[in-house]
């Protein structure tokens, strides 16, 4: 009897000891930082919904591991973003930090994350610093380097021999990058360059100034809520029919539902569009509309790609999250089905990819939507990769 008891106890001890090892491996923890509240909250919603869709497509597992998603709201503030990153690193001990809409937030967050030896997978902001001298083994982006998209627009407007362009952008890291990128390929006359406050609501004063200068064309970068305000007020000022508007990150699936016809006919350049033809994109856009009932934006497509990139890295090291070298090597191959189609990574971990000219046109259903007109750049590299000291 006594022996039986001891055996039972031993069996119990053994079960307890063996238990953890027999369970599945530790889950992968991914921190996702974006703007979820305030006027930019709509962008964050697009990104978060896309992350959730990516997880659905992966069967709620990333790289074969269970996944713990931790979402953080940076409120478009660099200091808040950095605090969130610190909390995710120290408290949650995340393996990856992803997301980030704003370049000024990214510049605060990325060095914190990579400095702690953790992967930073950017899914929107592409400040030039991180593509050049500050490039890092642990930093990847699934979006673009800021300058690339306006470079495409600059090229297009140059090819069209457009002159006397009035340039406007918000006064922060990405605003400057956008204008620099534009000017790298556009060599015509620029009437004036105007920078406005980040998050500004009323552009009437600037629009009055613009009208006073009588430009032949206007180039703007006003992402998210700023674009909605600007497009609306530009149309209300009666300028839409007088001075053609060319933009980057302004007329998109975030602003179109709100401004509709006020953006009709506008040109944009971009690396992706809902109507881009490839299998992964058709699945992403189709399932996204089915699940969430609205059209996804490039913010979402990049965030979806971010999760797939992480999935490809963990798969390559067979779930061994401590093998960071292995994961860096795997991610450099960009071995996943991206919504933009096949692309490669440059030495600075920024995509080499196509850029298209898009136009806001009336779809058959009556809604205004972005449609690809033509390819402006094929396999376009960013301008800062030579400054990046990484070799591979």
């Amino acid at each position: 009897m006594r022996a039986l008891k001891i055996t039972a106890v031993l069996a119990l001890v053994a079960a307890v000891l063996v238990g953890p090892a027999a369970r599945a491996a530790e889950p992968v923890k991914i921190g996702f930082i974006t703007s979820l509240s305030g006027p930019a909250g709509i962008i964050g919603k697009h990104m978060k919904d896309s992350v959730e869709l990516a997880l659905d497509h992966l069967g709620r597992k990333v790289g074969g591991l269970d996944v713990d998603m931790i979402y953080g709201d940076d409120q478009r503030k660099p200091d808040v973003g950095k605090q969130l990153a610190d909390e995710m690193l120290k408290k949650h001990k995340v393996n990856f930090v992803s997301g980030i809409i704003w370049s000024n937030v990214m510049l605060a967050v990325a060095p914190t994350v990579t400095g702690a030896g953790t992967f930073m997978i950017g899914t929107n902001a592409g400040p030039h610093e991180l593509a050049g001298k500050m490039c890092n083994e642990l930093y990847f982006t699934t979006s673009w380097q800021n300058d690339q998209t306006p470079e495409a627009m600059g090229k297009y407007m140059q090819d069209q021999s457009i002159n006397d362009v009035y340039v406007m952008a918000p006064n922060y890291a990405a605003g400057k990058d956008m204008v620099n990128g534009f000017k790298r390929y556009f060599k015509g006359r620029i009437v004036d360059e105007v920078y406005t406050k980040l998050g500004q609501q009323d552009y009437q004063a600037e629009i009055s100034q613009l009208r006073g200068k009588n430009p032949k064309a206007v180039f703007v970068f006003y992402p998210g809520d700023m674009g909605i305000q600007f497009l609306k007020q530009y149309a209300q000022a009666g300028l839409r029919d007088q001075v053609p508007l060319y933009s980057v990150y302004t007329v998109d699936e975030i602003s179109l539902p709100a401004v509709g016809e006020a953006a009709l006919g506008n040109y944009e350049t971009r690396y992706w569009s809902p109507d881009l033809k490839n299998e992964a994109n058709a699945r992403y856009v189709g399932d996204f509309k089915k699940k969430f009932g609205y059209t996804p934006s490039f913010y979402g497509a990049q965030s979806y790609d971010g999760i797939l990139l992480i999935d490809s890295a963990i798969r390559a090291v067979k779930g061994d999250l401590s093998n960071k070298k292995g994961m860096t090597a795997a991610m450099r191959k960009a071995d996943f089905k991206s919504t933009r189609g096949k692309f490669t990574y440059n030495v600075n971990h920024h995509p080499i990819q196509n850029f298209y000219l898009l136009r806001a046109v009336k779809a058959s259903g009556g809604d205004v939507e972005m449609q690809i007109q033509k390819t402006v750049f094929e396999n376009h590299k960013d301008a800062y990769s030579q400054e990046c000291p990484m070799k591979w």
Binding site: G38, P39, Y195, K232, Q236
Partner: protein, 307 residues
């Protein structure tokens, strides 16, 4: 720089100023009379904008939408006062800030749940969609001109209401000495509720007029609220006259700064330096002004007279 552009920018400044005034008037009344710091005033502006947008989509009459939004926000304001704020009058300002900050979160989430996070689109009413020729050569958007007129009319109305009516007398008395007014048999609680509701309606008026030119989206109130606080500090806390003066000053300084600071700087320090300094300085101007007012005249330019 031609003078027509200067006049147009002054109109823009005035339009922004009266918008700020509609917010500042309610906020300063509530602070002056009830001694309550109401951070959630921006939420009432947002509620006004949302109610107007919703009503516009049902009735497609801008006037009906305006009436609905004003009445609705008045009601919301009074409910908030009765449910949440009444207990806070005797507490210190930090408690009030915390509680009303909580209300901001509540209202932002509430509108996001009801109407979604995406921005709502409203257009300027058709009758006001065009331009008016104010002076030869100055074509100004009719809708913005109407905002200026409405704002100035409200200022006049408030002046008459506060200085020449019985309700205004009670409001002034309540601000001077609450206990005495209550002792004389005036229902001070009801008075507070009415004043708060009225302030809410003023915020809603600002919000519903802002809807068609700005964007109706969760959190829209906080963007303007910060500038409204600047207005109140500059104008003098608790004073409607101060709110009007402060609002017009802030509106003008901000707009003219954004328009003319860079060209002016570029003649002094060169165009490339002005490119960097101009926008940064323009967005700081109103705060520099506020700091100057606080340093030299901490009570504000037109402080409320207290008994």
């Amino acid at each position: 720089m031609n003078w027509l552009l200067v006049v147009e920018q002054c109109l823009n400044g005035l339009q922004f100023g009266v918008m700020l005034f509609l917010m500042a008037a309610g906020l300063t009344l509530v602070f002056g009379i009830m001694n309550l710091v109401n951070l959630a005033h921006g939420s009432l502006y947002m509620v006004g904008a949302y109610l107007a947008t919703a009503a516009l989509s049902w009735t497609s009459s801008f006037l009906a939408a305006a009436v609905f939004a004003l009445a609705g926000t008045l009601l919301v304001g009074m409910l908030v006062e009765v449910i949440a704020l009444r207990t806070l009058y005797e507490r210190d300002h930090l408690d009030q800030v915390l509680a009303t900050f909580g209300l901001i979160l509540f209202f932002n989430e509430a509108v996001a749940i009801v109407w979604g996070r995406a921005a709502l689109f409203t257009t300027v009413p058709r009758a006001l969609a065009g331009h008016v020729e104010l002076l030869p050569g100055i074509r100004y958007p009719a809708y913005r001109a109407v905002i200026i007129l409405v704002g100035l009319a409200v200022a006049l109305l408030l002046y008459v209401l506060v200085n020449h009516t019985r309700l205004g007398m009670l409001i002034r008395a309540g601000a001077s000495n609450r206990t005495m007014v209550a002792a004389l048999g005036v229902n001070i609680r009801l008075l507070y509720t009415v004043v708060f509701g009225f302030g809410a309606a003023l915020a809603a008026l600002g919000g519903l007029m802002a809807g068609p030119i700005y964007t109706v989206l969760p959190g829209m109130g906080e963007e303007i609220l910060i500038q409204v606080f600047v207005v109140i500090v500059i104008g003098g806390i608790g004073s409607i006259r101060g709110a009007l003066a402060g609002a017009v000053i802030v509106g003008m300084v901000d707009t003219l700064g954004r328009a003319f600071l860079k060209p002016m700087l570029s003649t002094v320090i060169g165009p490339s330096a002005a490119d960097n300094a101009g926008p940064a300085l323009a967005s700081m101007l109103i705060y520099i002004l506020m700091a100057a007012v606080l340093a030299f005249r901490p009570q504000g330019l037109f402080p409320a007279v207290r008994g």
